[in-house]
Amino acid sequence: METVVFALLNGLIYGLLLFMLSSGLTLIFSMMGVLNMAHASFYMLGAYFAFTLGQSTGFWFALFLAPICVGAVGACVERWGLRRIHAGGHVGELLFTFGLAYVIEELVKIIWGKFAVAYEVPAELNFSLFELYGAQYPAYRMFMLLVSITMLAGLWYLLKRTRIGLIIQASLTHPHMVSHLGHNVPRIFMLVFAAGCALAGLSGVIGGNYLVTEPSMAFSIGPIVFVVVVVGGMGSLAGAFVASLLIGFLQTFAISIDANFAEIFSFAGLNPEGDLGRITISSLAPMLPFMLLVLMLMLRPRGLMGEREF
């Protein structure tokens, strides 16, 4: 029972963090067709900016300032990078962001050093909220939950209730339509790209101190973000939300299962010391998202709730 409760709680937090990261990419991908491989790099920039800004302004200002800075960087990348190669097709754009991820990581190493930086949870939130089955539940996690839900609500409001949101929504499903409506498409692209990056930055701000802020943090989380976007489906924020939570729960549940293949498939007579029999479900946990990705693309390429195929 306690395993289930904890897996649910942790899966929820991890899933929401993933959703904050991938919602931006879903917007960018659905609208511009750019599968931004550097998206997690903006997440990393968010954490580093928050660390630096936090030293002078404190965490709370950094919480707002850092995503804005990340968004500005994103706008520059779109304006002087992606826009120039847009005509060359999506493969060129994909490769551009692939190279950008390399460059951002190296720049971060030069600016902030190669080691992890001491980006800590703010003292105001560094206490334990309640105790559950002998383990304490840190307040910061609740705060993360709060921020991501606020963000989710804000995004929903923006998309459903504002003019720009309606345009963006229209172009999620019908990217060619918007230019016919007389809107300045490059500017909308820049805005969406910047906003997507800012969302990634925000998740960096609250995820960087919860996890670790170091130069390889982008590389290690990057692929999972794709998985969320692809599994969720093109043009579907709701899909990304479901996929994030799914992956969050899947991973945390798998970790809590200690059984190995030899036990599960005991009827097949697997040797528990053999390579196959030795594999435990929990050691497979990090692989599950990729299995999900491959299966999803092969069986249902439009994703869980996608409006269309790629």
Partner: protein, 426 residues
Amino acid sequence: MTDYSVDLVPDLAPSSQYKFATRVLPLLLMALLLLVIPLLEPSRTSLSLLNAVGINIVFALSYNMLLGQAGMLSFGHAVYFGFGGYAAMHAMNWIETASYDGGVWAAFPVFALPLVGFAGGAAAGAVIGWPSCRRAGVPFAMISLGLAELIAAAGLMFVGLFGGEEGITGDRMNGVEAFGLSLGPIGEVYWFIAFWAFAGTALMYAFTRTPLGKLAQAVRDNPERVQFVGYNPNKVRYLVFIAAGGFAGLAGGMSAVNYEIFTPESLSVIPSGLVLLMAYIGGARYFAGPILGAIMLTYMQSNFSDYSEAWLLYLGLLFIGMIMFAPRGLAGLLLSAVSGIQHSLTVKSLLRWGAYCTAGLLVVVGGVTLIELAVRRSNGFGEVFEPFGLHLSPEQVLPWMYGGVLLAAGVGLLTALHKVGEGESK
């Protein structure tokens, strides 16, 4: 129906002279070059680098069968390199065992191990390609990424097959000697690599000239239309995928013999990314492009790190620069330079070339200065950047300004040149 007898139809095929110059001659030159290199008595470093280059040429060309020829962007090509390499590595150990205990493998020369690699890579391609080649474009790329992650993880889990992260080692000095090569000294390994690099290149070139090779290009250009000339584009992709896997496996087999070790790291996404960079930076649109890319990146990987610890940053910047300004890659740049020289060798064009080169140089010098200063400053132990006898300290403002000014001047000049060029073309 009108009778078109053979003699009435004009012969549209290119002349045999043209064929020789464009198809046979480059391969002959490559063979000649491979034969000449040992006469220059290269050092051990050069030989080991050349061997690495040879392996990467075959690997990058095999990747380009997918990217350049069939238009399939894969993030997991190292998987086939790895399967081929492991197949060859296991075979190498069977040869060793057989040389003591006897058996079928005793008669198999180590020299021919890349063939085992080819079989391994092609088999892996046939199994993995079956589900993944039913999708094209971005879904294909994503499937390849997902599978690459899964297989890289499996590489560490199945110790019996992949040897854990320490991999499998072997000894190439066993079994039957072919061509009188013991394969002990690195100089003899050179001949082994040269032979297979040439064979691989020639075969992959030949592949582009076959009906299947041509159809792969048709699928790249227009998969929809291919269906209406009687072909199933998925099947064409699948077959090309198997062939590409086979040649990647061939490169893996070469690697197994050259290094006598194979580790699961070779299956991972990092070499897959590197081979993508090789093919793209070299020029995926041209057959010879990946060869250039393989040479350049292998050299950079092994030697740039001697000069700058920021070499990965330079690599990333180079890659981005190529995508933005030279999407046809190094091969494209070379070809346009050659045709520029052939067609418009005027004072004006020379001046413009000069101006472009100067601007490019300014950007590079300024950028490098700034990056190197930044690296030293970030290391923070007072190291000074000393290019060409200069003494640039990251603690002073002036060196930063030098770098900044040079970079700004270069960018400014480039912008100006671009505007002039646009003005003229209008």
